[in-house]
């Protein structure tokens, strides 16, 4: 057993120092050199490349195009727009099928069943009109677009295109004083911000890692894509003839996503010149070879890992939110329900920003998950504006089989093109969801940086909406 007195750390380090001087200063280089030398010697002995010249290097040829100075960004935007356009165009029909099954058919059966076994009205209200309907709504609105969007996105990833996106963005991020790898973590954020925040571990400098964490929320996550797609289809796509509606609304969604990248760069730039000062560190980004995507496996994993995962999360959060919505719509103080009190009280304030009380309340209810913003907005709109002919009572999520129905409700609730644009902006710029906030805290272990990451985007959101609204009113009036 070791019984000797422990030597101190200083003693070890000073011995190391003395020995280092004795050996000369270039030990690190010697070790590194001999490793490289060994590697190249062994490789020479064992690797043989047959007729090198005749083989066409397709990787290099593709890379020359997709990462070229002039074509790189247009190709990127085109692919992104194509993916959204296919999603927007193809999702509406299966959405209608699921809605008619879950809402038109199953909901009355459940209601009648509950009445037959003598449920009191409030219990069947909370469980069936609140919890069940909100879950059904989330499934029918979100499942089809996700089942189309994620496999396409995963195919691009599997093929090897996403690292090229990072490559294209790299110099922009370095100019903003951030780490080039932030382009990678930002792209991960387009799937899920919590995952993007965890992915920042690939960045070694704490300063640059914090910048990447704070700005990750500017990547539209998949909880927000449905909001963007739906609102763009109604308010932007509605501006043009139906032939062009799909393309124009896809363009608008890409526009918001690009705006997010722009904010990400601007905020990184501002942070690296104020509270997080420093130089961008250099790194090498390896472009992996293109690989033929394994279509079936990609479909399977994107369905299980992403679609079902995200859907499950949305359902888990929609359930209690549905109950909460039903309660705030049905608990009355005096003449008005809790929801109406809040909406009426916050409306004048929200109008300054071109939003409305419904949107503010929806974003408070949706802090756990961005996915439920749209269902909540629709439901609260019906309550507060007392639209006749839709819905089956306060706090009940009604059937909306098509985008046209949704549009009818929103227009009746006093929504305009300006409200739609502001909702899209606010959906891009608001606090991260609670999962992401918790992840940021776990990764930074700092309340201060968690607070900054939470409140910076929401302050920016209000500022941008305010600005847009004031300019709009000046121009339109």
């Amino acid at each position: 057993m070791e019984n000797k007195e422990k030597v101190s750390a200083e003693e070890i380090l000073s011995l190391a120092n003395t020995l280092r001087w004795d050996l000369g200063m270039n030990l690190h280089d010697t070790v590194t050199e001999s490793i490289y030398e060994g590697a190249s010697k062994i490789a020479k002995k064992t690797v043989r490349v047959k007729d090198e010249k005749s083989s066409v290097n397709w990787d290099l040829k593709i890379d020359k195009v997709v990462t070229s100075k002039w074509l790189g960004f247009p190709i990127m935007f085109f692919l992104l727009a194509l993916v959204f356009w296919i999603t927007v165009a193809a999702a509406n029909i299966p959405s209608g099928w699921i809605a008619s099954l879950l809402i038109d058919t199953l909901h009355p059966i459940l209601k009648n069943g509950a009445a037959a076994i003598g449920f009191p009205w409030w219990l069947s209200g909370v469980l069936i009109d609140g919890a069940y309907l909100s879950v059904a709504w989330v499934v029918s609105v979100m499942l089809p677009p996700m089942a189309i969007f994620f496999p396409m996105f995963t195919l691009l990833e599997d093929f090897g295109y996403l690292p090229r996106v990072a490559f294209n963005m790299d110099s922009l991020f370095r100019k903003a004083g951030a780490h080039g790898k932030q382009a990678l973590t930002m792209s991960m954020g387009f799937g899920c911000n919590a995952a993007g925040v965890v992915a920042t571990r690939v960045i070694d400098s704490p300063r640059e890692r914090l910048i990447a964490i704070i700005t990750n929320n500017f990547s539209l996550c998949n909880g927000r894509w449905p909001t963007q797609i739906l609102i763009a289809s109604i308010f932007i796509g509605g501006l043009v003839s139906s032939r062009w509606a799909g393309i124009v609304s896809a363009g608008a969604v890409v526009g918001v996503a690009v705006l997010g990248i722009f904010f990400s760069l601007v905020v990184s730039w501002a942070l690296s010149r104020s509270v997080l000062k420093g130089e961008a560190s250099a790194f090498s980004l390896e472009l992996p070879p293109y690989r033929p995507p394994r279509i079936l496996q990609t479909l399977y994993t994107s369905l299980i890992d992403r679609t079902i995962f995200v859907l499950w999360r949305a359902v888990v959060f929609a359930l209690p939110a549905g109950i909460l919505i039903w309660l705030v719509a049905n608990i009355h103080i005096g003449e008005l329900s809790l929801a109406e009190w809040f909406i009426n009280w916050s409306d004048p304030f929200a109008m300054l920003f071109g939003l409305n009380g419904v949107i503010l309340l929806a974003y408070i209810i949706a802090i756990p998950a961005n996915e439920i913003v749209i269902p909540t907005v629709l439901m609260l709109t019906v309550i507060s504006s007392g639209i006749a002919g839709v819905g089956a009572g306060d706090g009940v999520m009604f059937e909306l089989d098509s985008i046209a129905d949704t549009e009818r409700v929103l227009r009746a609730g006093g929504w305009t093109l300006l409200t739609g644009i502001n909702l899209m902006l606010f959906s891009l710029l608001h606090n991260p969801c609670s999962t992401t906030i918790y992840t940021i805290y776990k990764e930074t272990k700092s309340v201060k940086w968690t607070m900054i990451s939470t409140f910076l985007p929401i302050v920016m959101g209000f500022a941008i909406c305010f600005f847009t609204t004031q300019v709009w009113r000046l121009l339109v009036k």
Partner: protein
């Protein structure tokens, strides 16, 4: 390795001997570390062995934390730890530290190094660094299908002789070579295959003497910590991360916390 040809009688071809355990990893006999450069298919190998579906992507640096899974092969239970991809063991980012600390101080029974056959020379840099610090390793020469497409031929026998460890050609995405890999892992883990890992020979007597005297001191301060030679070499190089770890005493806490409690 003698059993790389597809002969039906080889024990390695008995697929039924493999039971994928997913995340059930109690009472394991051996711990396997999966290391390698980014984007060489470590996670695909990991999924093939454990039956888990850790998301894979054509994306360097996708695995940033340790992922763990288990399998049972010929009645022995193995735990597999999928480490983040790294280019070297000498740098300082969080993901590389995770990999480095586990190989150094977690004492895996076998370190499986997954290498990209199309970029062998660059991958060998990491392989040689790992062989400096471990005696038991297997090289999984992955992406052989891509190498074939690019007209690259690799002499696996010579490579195995040079490195002193088993070399298994594989195409993990097509699940090729996985049974042979399992066989090699078993042989090294059980001690039937004794590795004679390649070591860098350019060390002078003076350097060896310096390492010895530093290791003597380190032993007193951090008893039981494996790989003190490597720690000493880093200190002699003036590696700031290692100096900090000695200064704060953090180095002493690495060993017990990284050795899995259930073995």
């Amino acid at each position: 390795m003698s059993n790389q040809h597809n002969c039906e009688n080889c024990p390695v071809h008995h697929k039924e001997n493999l039971i994928r355990l997913g995340i059930a990893m109690d009472k394991v006999d051996y711990v396997i570390a999966l290391a390698g450069n980014p984007n060489t298919g470590k996670s695909t190998v990991f999924n093939n062995l454990t039956g888990l579906r850790q998301h894979t992507g054509n994306w360097p640096g996708k695995t940033v934390t340790r992922a763990e899974g288990g399998f049972s092969y010929n009645d022995k239970r193995y735990k597999v730890v999928d480490l983040p991809g790294t280019y070297s063991l000498l740098s300082t980012s969080t993901d590389e530290e995770v990999a480095r600390n586990f190989i150094l101080f977690g004492r895996p029974d076998v370190t499986v190094i997954v290498a990209d056959a199309t970029r062998l020379e660059r991958n060998l840099n990491l392989v040689l660094q790992i062989l400096e610090i471990t005696d038991r390793a297997v090289l999984c020469l992955n992406l052989m299908d891509e190498a074939k497409r690019n007209n690259i031929e690799i002499d696996e026998r010579t490579l195995s002789k040079e490195l002193g460890i088993p070399v298994i050609p594989a195409a993990a995405r097509q699940k090729e070579g996985m049974m042979e890999l399992l066989g090699a892992i078993e042989e090294v883990a059980s001690g039937r295959y004794i590795c004679k890992p390649h070591r860098i020979k350019s060390r002078s007597d003076k350097l060896n003497h310096a390492i010895d005297s530093l290791v003597g001191k380190l032993k007193q301060q951090f008893p039981g910590l494996p790989n003190l030679n490597w720690v000493a070499l880093r200190l002699l190089e003036g590696d700031q991360g290692m100096i900090d770890a000695v200064n704060s005493g953090e180095l002493g806490t690495l060993s017990p916390s990284l050795i899995p409690a259930d073995i």
